[in-house]
Amino acid sequence: MKAVGIILAGGKNERLGALSAIRATSAMPVGSCYRAIDFPLSNMTNSGINKVAVITQYNSRSLHDHLSSPKWWDLGSKQGGLFILSPYLTNENSLWYRDTADSIYQNLTFLKRSNEPYVVISSGDCVYKMDYNEVIAYHERKGAEVTIAYRRVPDSDEIRQYGVIELDENERVTDLEEKPLDPQSDLASIGVYVMSRTLLIELVETIVRQGRYDLVRDLFARYRKRLKIYGYRFDGFWRNLNNVHAYFDCNMEFLRRDVRSLFMGTFPYIKTKPKDEPPAKYNAGAVVNNCLVGSGAILNGNANRSIIFRKVYTGENSQVNNAIIMEGTRIGNNAIIENAIVDKEVEIRDGAQIRGSVEMPLIISKSSKIG
């Protein structure tokens, strides 16, 4: 095996509001049956990486629940495995992870006990499909010490949320700024890095000793001139789930045939924890158009341009328009839901109405009862 994987899934994002108040962003439900982490995790195993650490911290219960067995991603082997690394107390240390680099530092044993030459690091909350072998091959071809995958982001507001890189004509990184006020280029890091395992150990030990804890700011940016850092251009589908709009739009993009085809129709597929729900049931009065529907759903009403997760029930004459309805939510007869994100296991009683606006979908928190 050429590489071990690390997925950084500890983060929270206040811009997702009530949706991430109860879960890590890596556990955000996507596309009727996935969670965000399924994408990097499947990318890992689909690239032949069979030893993957998932670093969790913030609100990790739903993530741990989702990752209850390594089997579903084919990670249940003796030579590999799925390592879920949460902060823990020791005699010397009673700290949470102080940031990304620190979270790797506190789990250096995982890297030290491996013998694979490379580490692939990915964030846990981005929706994309990538063959990391190609990044590793590029990394070797360039003789790079660090490779950072990037994409072009023309929107000058959007790019301020990312790490912005500048490249020379050989694709070598000449500058790197995290979330800059005045971006100097339109090239954004997508949070996927390849580097040598031993170099990562060495650098992380060095910076943490100096009281620096952030992987991008304190390591890559600070060492940008000293290390040979190269950019790997990725033009495929990539979406960040870092605010309500991005989350809503990314889900709706699964209504496009090409997006479904990429993730679900083209081998290797994105894997998720199976829930063994029966087929979705469309009863006699159901009118379901331009919708994605998860298994185990029972539909009696109308639905249009919506993402309906597993085990959702819709009552007779109910209307669901331009909405995301998460797993296990129950919608009563004659209820109306428009421009909304309805979290899991919500009960919307008969005749209740939930209306957000096209500009701002209304969020209904998990397990609430409406009407």
Binding site: G31, S32, C33, K71, W72, F254, L255, R257, R260, F263, M264, G265, Y269, K271, T272, P274, K275, D276, E277, P278, P279, A280, K281, Y282, N283, A284, G285, A286, V287, V288, N289, N290, C291, L292, V293, G294, S295, G296, I298
Partner: protein
């Protein structure tokens, strides 16, 4: 020594010849059911839901798809270090090689496997029925009554009783007589083919019967012999959904039971789920002009056309303008634009071209196999392809890659068949 209180032996070797072309390339337990399942998923899931974690699956007829489906038992949590699922195919022995010649003979030939777990009880199951049952409760009944053998029994309607193997019982459910499909039934307690034996009783009976009958069978030989000898045999009363899917018509009916608004057989409970091999479970998409009513759609389906009163397997595509009605369309089938399917069973991976009509015409029984195809249902075998713009009647069978010239004047009349090599996929 290793020890399991009860292990299950699942008889999955039968062809199910009355299912016609559906069982040409696979055994009956491997036939798809209810969209995403296969028939064997029901007894397999019942086992794990009842705490039976050691299952020997006895295969013989066309086992490849069954073996692939079961694998090492992951979908049913039957991948165990001790126990779990084991496929038991017939094999050569030092003196002679032998096929399984009867239901009891198949168990007789696998006594060594059973002995390896040193069980007190052996549960005998078949892979032919759709039902949910808790075998642990049946075992409790077995122990309470100090049975040698207990047999699950279902009260069937009196008018249908003569189609079943029946059991006549005393008030305490102790069996005193077996009757096989009697014209004048004395009881309506049908034998469901689910048995719990004390292993030592069964072991001894199998050894003795194998010396008498070389096609040793439970219903015909072993059970009557034990009854004759005075063994304590009890009927375990079961009530609930239980359907045989042995014929094209009963197979179609049992699938259609599931699409009713409130089905008699509930797959949507949170516990005692039915598990199947489906690790890739993408969602379903229904397009802007799709109409889907009274139907079950499995994961990965894409419907742009119309689907009424039908069951669709995983990954089925129904193109725009197509209409599927009263049909069972199995995994990975493709229905081309503007095609019209009425009462069709399409086995896995069929491809129907554009502007095709299937199921139109007189209800003429199939000319070659009138006893199998006679209820107006047209069946497409695995990997069948149908060219654009042909018309196919009722009770037809089409199997394999077909070309326009296979259809005289672009038509296949009701009751006619086109059978080509079903293993041919795509062109030749």
């Amino acid at each position: 020594m290793r020890k399991k209180e009860m292990i299950a032996m699942l008889l999955a070797g039968g062809q199910g010849s009355r299912l016609g072309v559906l069982t040409t390339a696979k055994a009956k337990p491997a036939v798809s059911f209810g969209g995403k399942y296969r028939v064997i998923d029901f007894p397999m899931s019942n086992c794990i839901n009842s705490g039976v974690d050691t299952v020997g699956v006895v295969t013989q007829y066309q086992p490849l798809q069954l073996n692939q489906h079961i694998g090492i038992g992951i979908p049913w949590d039957l991948d165990r270090r001790l126990g779990g699922v084991t496929i038991l195919a017939p094999y050569l022995k030092s003196e002679q090689g032998e096929w399984y010649t009867g239901t009891a003979n198949a168990i007789y030939q696998n006594m060594e496997y059973i002995d390896g777990y040193n069980p007190d009880y052996v549960l005998i199951l078949s892979g032919d029925h759709i039902y949910k049952m808790n075998y642990a409760k049946m075992l409790d009944f077995h122990k309470q009554n100090k049975c040698d053998v207990s047999i699950a029994a279902l009260e069937v309607p009196w008018e249908e009783a003569s189609r079943f193997g029946l059991m006549n019982v005393h008030e305490d459910n102790r069996i005193h007589e077996f009757e096989e499909k009697p014209p004048q039934p004395k009881s309506n307690l049908a034998n469901m083919g689910i048995y719990i034996f004390n292993w030592q009783v069964l072991r001894d009976a199998l050894e003795r019967d194998s010396k008498i009958h070389n096609n040793s069978d439970f219903g015909m030989h072993v059970l009557p012999m034990l009854l004759e000898e005075g063994a304590r045999m009890y009927a375990y009363p079961f009530s609930g959904y239980w359907k045989d899917v042995g014929t094209i018509e009963s197979y179609w009916m049992a699938n259609m039971d599931l699409v009713k608004t409130v089905p008699e057989f509930n797959l949507y409970e949170d516990f005692d789920k039915i598990y199947t091999d489906a690790d890739h479970q993408p969602p379903i998409y229904t397009g802007p002009n799709a109409v889907v009513q009274g139907s079950l759609l499995s994961e990965g389906c894409e419907v742009l056309g119309s689907v009424y009163n039908s069951v669709l397997g995983t990954g089925v595509i129904v193109e725009a303008g197509a209409e599927v009605r009263d049909s069972i369309i199995m995994q990975d089938c493709y229905i081309g634009a503007n095609s019209n399917l009425n009462r069709v069973i399409a086995d896995t991976n069929c491809s129907v071209g554009d502007d095709v009509v299937i199921g139109e015409g007189e209800n003429t029984p199939n000319a070659d196999k009138p006893n199998i195809y006679n209820t107006g249902i047209t069946v497409l075998g695995e990997n069948t392809t149908i060219p654009d713009r042909v018309i196919i009647g009722k009770n037809c069978v089409v199997c394999g890659h077909t070309y326009p010239f296979n259809y005289q004047d672009g038509k296949l009349e009701s009751g006619q068949s086109i059978i080509r090599d079903h293993h041919m996929k795509g062109g030749e």
